[in-house]
């Protein structure tokens, strides 16, 4: 049976497990209808021109991996940014693991989507925010229809969250192949600040398909700093759908580090609903083998005097393929917009492919919009210079690549995250770094 049919027919069983008498369930049923109509994306869709999910969809996924496996902290400690004190919201096979987590309700809520969806106390918030900014496209609808669990973060106004929040999704692979659909909702009040680190990790080599939706609402003058670390097993595929709505004077930055996984697709959407907003989208992609990473970004400038900055770097080795599709829309009213988009790529092997499509759609005349896109190689002269001075070729290359990725790396605000990323890159490039970045 095809995955789509399997999903559709499993909905009845799913309904037995949730409370069907709620507003949220109505949203779910609508979303399911929507997905039934749209189906999985194919390459015929312009947005999926360069990414085919066919191979991923062929797997026979278990849709509701049920068994909660106990994992020892020691086994997974390395996936945490464990050097710092942090709130943790941890899921194993889509189920909450209280043992590994550290949540709070003091001053602000860092807890579970399942309780937010079912507890009457949260109903006004859910009514106001749940599924409100998410686009009703195929995979988001699919998530909306089936998602029951994820992280729920609600920060009231004038609050600074003292320590970062880590969201981790582990899959243990107790089933041959599993599909999980986490759903995160993050609401940041006026003048508040929060830092979040998100990671999806498969613990075995069984196939995993993660279809995650994250909605972020950043109220006036709030500051959200979000890091996505993607360094999964080669059998794990990820579709990350993030939707961010910003109000006046807010700053939201999202860093995406894609170092591994089978097919990784990042749909990152920003909607600017006020003035003087800054949206920052940055990413480093370093992949090899047959990996495929697709960054699909959208920044929608709706109001005047806003800015957006995009900076994506990619290094592609062996038979890997990279896609960058960045879209900036500037509405008629959004005068004085300053939109900047930069995408630089290095192809290390002849079999690697990069497809770039930086798009601008501009309807306002008093704007500064520019995009640049380059594809090239490392500078041979620089490499030669270093070799002359006793730096081996491999290390020399790594140094150049670090320098290449540094514009993204230097804007990482949590030192431990920066260190971790630096280590991951060093490991990827097979060098030991003896320097601080």
């Amino acid at each position: 049976m095809e995955l789509k049919d399997k999903l559709l027919s499993s909905y009845v069983a799913f309904e037995n497990r949730v409370d069907t008498n709620t507003d949220v369930h109505e949203i779910r049923s609508e979303a399911l209808e929507n997905f039934e109509e749209l189906g999985f994306p194919t390459r015929k869709l312009e947005a999926w021109k360069y990414t085919s999910l066919n191979s991923v969809l062929k797997q026979d996924y278990s849709l509701f991996p049920d068994r909660v496996e106990a994992i020892e902290l020691a086994d997974v400690k390395k996936y945490f940014i464990h050097e710092i004190d942090a709130y943790k919201v941890v899921f194993i096979n889509g189920k909450y693991s209280s043992f590994l987590s550290q949540t709070t309700h003091e001053h602000y809520d860092v807890c579970l989507m399942s309780s937010a969806l079912t507890n009457a106390k949260y109903k006004p918030v859910i009514d106001k925010y749940f599924n409100k900014v998410a686009k009703q496209d195929n995979l988001t609808s699919l998530n909306t229809a089936f998602a029951t669990e994820g992280a729920y973060i609600n920060i009231p106004k004038n609050t600074e969250v003292k320590k970062p929040i880590q969201i981790l999704n582990f899959t243990t692979g107790s089933e041959a192949a599993s599909m999980i659909q986490p759903r995160n909702l993050i609401i940041v009040g006026e003048n508040s600040q929060v830092q979040i680190i998100e990671r999806h990790q498969s613990l075995t080599s069984n196939a995993v398909l993660t279809n995650v939706v994250t909605e972020i609402f950043a109220d006036k003058a709030s500051n959200v700093d979000y890091y996505k670390i993607q360094n999964d097993e080669i059998t794990a595929s990820l579709v990350d759908n993030s939707y961010i709505e910003q109000q006046s004077n807010s700053v939201v930055s999202v860093h995406t580090f894609s170092f591994g996984g089978n097919i990784t697709r990042n749909n990152l959407n920003f909607y600017q609903k006020g003035e003087h907003i800054d949206s920052i989208l940055k990413g480093i992609t370093i992949i090899e083998g047959k990996q495929h990473v697709d960054h699909h970004t959208l920044v929608h400038h709706i109001e005047p005097n806003c800015e957006s900055h995009q900076d994506y770097k990619g290094i592609y080795d062996e038979r890997s393929t990279g896609v960058f599709n960045g879209k900036v829309i500037v509405e008629k009213e959004a005068q004085k917009t300053n939109a900047y988009q930069q995408n630089n790529n290095v192809l290390v092997s002849d079999k690697a492919t990069i497809n770039a499509k930086p798009q601008l759609e501009i309807f306002a005349d008093d704007v500064k919009c520019s995009h640049g896109c380059t594809i090239g190689q490392l500078d041979d002269d620089a490499l030669f210079y270093m070799q002359q001075r006793g730096i081996p070729q491999k290390e020399g290359r790594a140094l150049l690549m670090f320098a290449f990725a540094n514009t993204v790396l230097e804007s990482v605000k949590i030192p431990e995250v920066k260190q971790r990323i630096t280590k991951l890159i060093a490991k990827k490039l097979n060098v030991k770094v003896g320097f601080d970045l």
């Binding site: 192809l347 002849d350 601008l360 759609e361 501009i362 500064k368 380059t374 594809i375």
Partner: protein, 482 residues
């Protein structure tokens, strides 16, 4: 059903024409509306074409009837009813006027601004002239010089008769009949066009231009151009003219094929100024053109275009860089005003080693128009050391227009070097103020700034054309400053 022969058709057409009060005269001839295999056959027969050509058209028609109209372009319009179009009409006879006084004063005003000579004005406005016009005599001398060099330059319908081996070899080799909806339609029903062949090692001594080719009156609705530059030859080809063209046909689907063999160079310049529709966006020509060039080893193709007309422009002059060391260039200015929509750009397909391409695209949108750049740079896995530089700049005037860029960059070779940059800006108030201070009125100042903005492309046009094109830009943007 009994066998339906061509004779029957002819008979039917005759009676039909009669039935509906059509009349036939030497200068004007129109088939009944609609398109089917018989109409394609009839067009071919009309042109007295050989069997292979008829078959080629029919094949194209069959492909076309299976195809769907493309919808991916960033333009909105009411689709033409393809069965409501008459697919064959010989050049229409326009009423002859006795003097320039009878010509529409608006048109004359435009001519004056463009600096077109009185004689040419008369010709363009279809005024009868007694003396032999300059252009005519020039054209005659042209013909002589070309013949001496062995250059073939004639309507494609004549070329099919006189040089069938050349036409047969190259037609459809760059733009196959099945390439796209409009190319297929064109292949099936094209009425006429130009054919040009430059022999080995010959450098064409003058700019070839459809404008001067007097043995064909008026361009058809479905034009077909084929330019072949044999090894080591050079040609510069001009298409269109700066004078406004008022054409009754709403749909134009032309195909242009360029073939540059080893070491050859083709420079193809277009100035397009079809009727863009009135200020409220009514009427106007739909221009759906397929243009593509093929470069063999060390060959070079350079497209230069100035697009100011048409209600809708859908045009992507492309280069297939098949040979090693071949070069493709694309320089474009697209101006849209009022309700015009343009979706234009280029494709650079790098197949050979050490291939180079340059794309410079300048879009200027004013009024309520939409201007899109859509381009593809593709580096094949065997295209070692390919190099591309793309730059698309947009200038917006007013806040009701839009500028869009849709670049596609696909690289499959690590030695590729690709740069793409795009900017969007408006005419700065301080720039205007500076000009005003120095006694230059706002309208002139804008013309000045727009000219500066488009200079890189204007410089690529042949001299006479460049001067006219510069003025054309001014006229197109007239009244766009609020």
């Amino acid at each position: 059903m009994s066998k339906y022969t061509e004779d029957d058709l002819r008979e039917e057409l005759k009676t039909k024409e009669y039935e509906y009060g059509f009349y036939t005269e030497i200068e004007s001839e129109t088939f009944a509306k609609g398109l089917n295999e018989d109409v394609v056959r009839a067009i071919s027969k009309k042109k007295n074409e050989p069997e292979w050509m008829t078959e080629w058209r029919l094949e194209a028609f069959r492909v076309w009837s299976q195809m769907e109209e493309p919808e991916w372009a960033n333009v909105t319009y009411k689709k033409p009813e393809f069965q409501e179009i008459a697919y064959y009409s010989a050049p229409k006879k326009k009423p002859k006027l006795n003097s320039l006084d009878e010509v529409d004063p608006d048109l004359l005003e435009t001519f004056k601004k463009l600096g077109i000579s009185i004689d040419e004005q008369k010709k363009l406005a279809n005024v009868a002239v007694d003396i032999v016009m300059d252009s005519v005599s020039v054209a005659t001398t042209f013909k002589k010089t070309l013949a001496e060099k062995g250059i073939i330059f004639m309507p494609i319908s004549e070329a099919i008769q006189e040089h069938p081996e050349l036409v047969r070899k190259y037609i459809g080799s760059v733009v196959p009949t099945s390439d796209n909806f409009y190319a297929a339609l064109n292949s099936a029903v094209f009425s006429d066009g130009s054919f040009c062949y430059i022999p080995k090692g010959v450098s064409c001594p003058m700019e070839l231009s459809t404008y001067f080719r007097i043995n064909e009156g008026g361009t058809g609705q479905f034009e077909r151009t084929l330019v072949v530059a044999d090894k080591g030859s050079y040609v510069s080809y001009l298409e269109g003219c700066t004078a406004p063209q008022r054409d009754e046909n709403q749909l134009h689907a032309a195909v242009v094929e360029l073939i540059a063999l080893d070491d050859a160079e083709i420079k193809y310049s277009t100035v397009q100024n079809w009727f863009p529709g009135d200020e409220s966006g009514k009427g106007g020509v739909y221009n759906f053109v397929t243009k593509r060039g093929l470069c063999e080893n060390n060959a070079k193709i350079s497209w230069t275009q100035v697009e100011t007309g048409s209600a809708i422009t859908w045009k992507y002059p492309s280069c297939v860089l098949k040979g090693n060391n071949s070069v493709g260039e694309f320089y474009s200015i697209a101006v849209t005003n009022n309700h015009q929509q343009a979706d234009t750009g280029t494709k650079m397909i790098h197949l050979g080693k050490n291939t180079k391409s340059t794309i410079i695209s300048k879009g200027i949108s004013a009024g309520k128009s939409q201007n899109s750049y859509r381009g593809l740079v593709q580096i094949n896995s065997r295209a070692e050391n390919a190099r591309n530089f793309s730059q698309c700049d947009s200038l917006l005037m007013g806040n009701e227009c839009g500028a869009h860029t849709f670049p596609y960059i696909e690289a499959k070779n690590k030695s590729a070097q690709i740069e793409h940059e795009a900017t969007t800006s408006k005419i700065g108030e301080d720039q205007l103020f500076y000009c005003n201070q120095r006694g230059i009125d706002t309208e002139k100042a804008i013309a000045l700034i727009v000219n500066g903005f488009s200079k890189e492309v204007l410089n690529k046009l042949p001299m006479e054309f460049a001067v006219e094109a510069q003025k054309l830009l001014e006229i197109s943007l007239e009244g766009s400053v609020g």
